[in-house]
Symmetry: C2
Subunit: 321 residues, 2 copies
């Protein structure tokens, strides 16, 4: 239904910003800079897993939005939020949300510009982030000859979710490493700003690396080749994969809400980036996304957690319930 709604609105929204809808954020030219703006609504009933504390929920609504700003290569400028609050809300829960939002704004050094509160049937938080940059990174910016890179490591969010869903017994240190990423992911703000100097295409990992790579290739009109051996997958993810008889690469490709940045950068310029990242592949002429595993090259499937079986169905977010 989401697609149907998007199509319906797209038909009626004639005037768009200086960048068409469909990127991590919208953007308009403001003098010699770009103003970047994004919004993301969180509905408690469908988007918030019981495992998360309200403070983590509050922090995450800021992270989700700030990450989209970072993926555009922009420095966050300000945050806004609207609350829909049920009459019977527990005030402790709401206080946790407020505390989480406050902590996140401190962490990202972003001021709150405006807030609105209303009565609603379910707790709803709509977060909005603004940012600015001299040079914009987009999903359509990848160029043949670029290296494909990713910040941090991938797979821990989904591996943590699998541990929780299956009540898997793992060592405390493993659980900590996984839950940290699942419950308290952080947006790559410093990296996004650094990337705006040099990178071409960029996207943040909201729905899983495989989906983001397909978006990047499709919107840039290029082919992406990934080398599976280079994917930065931590030992804790491999532990969980082994325990559940799953492929750690599939977990890494399917894991969503990681908020790492996937970006492409001209080969000769990658060394100029003053940040940590991993080269995982190359951009070529053509189309599609391919992955080479153990010398075997194949089209990369668009993976979501639902492909990891065990009876789970629906969206990544629904798995949280």
């Amino acid at each position: 239904m989401e697609r149907e709604i998007i199509e319906l609105f797209t038909r009626h929204l004639g005037i768009q910003g200086d960048l068409s809808l469909g990127d991590d954020a919208g953007a308009i030219k403001l003098g010699d800079e770009w103003l970047v703006a994004t919004n993301d609504m969180l509905v408690r009933k469908t988007d918030v897993p019981d495992i998360m504390t309200p403070k983590q929920v509050g922090f995450k609504i800021v992270t989700m939005n700030v990450s989209d700003v970072a993926a555009m290569g922009a420095k966050p400028l300000g945050f806004l939020f609207s609350l829909g609050v049920p009459r019977d809300i527990e005030m402790d829960y709401l206080e946790g949300i407020a505390e989480g939002i406050g902590k996140a704004l401190e962490f990202y050094e972003v001021p709150v510009l405006s807030a609105d509160t209303n009565e609603a049937d379910d707790l709803i938080i709509d977060g909005i982030a603004l940012g600015r940059t001299k040079r914009l990174l987009t999903r359509s910016g990848a160029r043949p000859g670029d290296l494909v890179c990713v910040t941090g490591d991938i797979g821990r969010a989904l591996a943590g979710l699998l541990v929780w869903k299956h009540g898997l017994n793992v060592p405390p240190s493993t659980k900590k490493a996984l839950y940290e990423k699942l419950l308290e992911p952080r947006a790559r703000v410093r990296e996004g700003i650094e990337l705006s100097r040099i990178a071409n295409g960029a996207i943040d990992i909201s729905d899983g690396l495989s989906k983001e790579l397909h978006l990047l290739a499709g919107m840039s009109g290029v082919r992406i080749e990934i080398d599976a051996r280079k994917l930065p997958i931590r030992g804790e993810v491999r532990e969980v994969a082994e325990a559940l008889g799953l492929d750690p690469i599939e977990i890494a490709l399917a894991s969503g809400e990681e908020f790492e940045l996937v970006f492409t950068v001209p080969e000769g310029r990658a060394d100029d980036l003053r940040m940590e990242f991993t080269v995982i592949g190359r951009v070529e002429r053509g189309d599609g996304v391919y992955i080479t595993t153990d010398g075997k090259r194949q089209e990369m499937p668009v993976l979501g957690w639902e492909h990891l079986g065990r009876g789970a169905k629906g969206t990544y977010r629904e798995m949280f319930r």
Copy 2:
């Protein structure tokens, strides 16, 4: 409960923009300009009267936000929105909303920058507007010696609501004039931009002229004196007042969601304003808001529609139901 929630969040939100929360919109300095941002959430169940068509609802969510930008003296730059959509929504209704948002963006010449859709229990639309201005108008900007002015006319929105609520039989031309303002109010964008050159304080009429004047006086630390004879009240409002045995001045002071701009301007500069407006009073040293009616001066009560009796209770918005 709204006040309690606002206090709770205010405790946790340390860093604010270059303007404290509490104005029509938030603002941050961006070079030699101000970037203005505001958000306003609309919940179908509590905020949307049955009398409104979905197209009118869509238009209004843009108007509400653009009006806050105009009240800051800013030119609207962009609009964003988040939708919460129930699974069983009638697609015709949603299409009407989309059409209304689209028409409003054309009307105000504002591009849509970003949109988000989610599943929710009730239809929820969170609108966000951005704007820019060289000079900011605020609720705290009124200065002793200023004239107090208002754009357009006041009272028609509430008079229209009263006609609808009471099933009052009025001539078609009266009904049209009132319903137009009730159902299709327009934000004063051109006037806001013009005012940013000269005016000192400004606020838009969301909750009724009397409430806005009290906010303006309180936040500016001044006294406001209003001359009741000067209030721009149209004949249609007087017709309804007479039919219901009400005071037309009270209707004018209580009428909300009019989206007219109330502003103050140095006496010698008012003639330089290239726009239509009415001078309704003066700013003096001191505090409070006073109104002189038939030579009798008294403190202006903070009026809402609920003071107009007839068994109605709750907020202005609740009266809509």
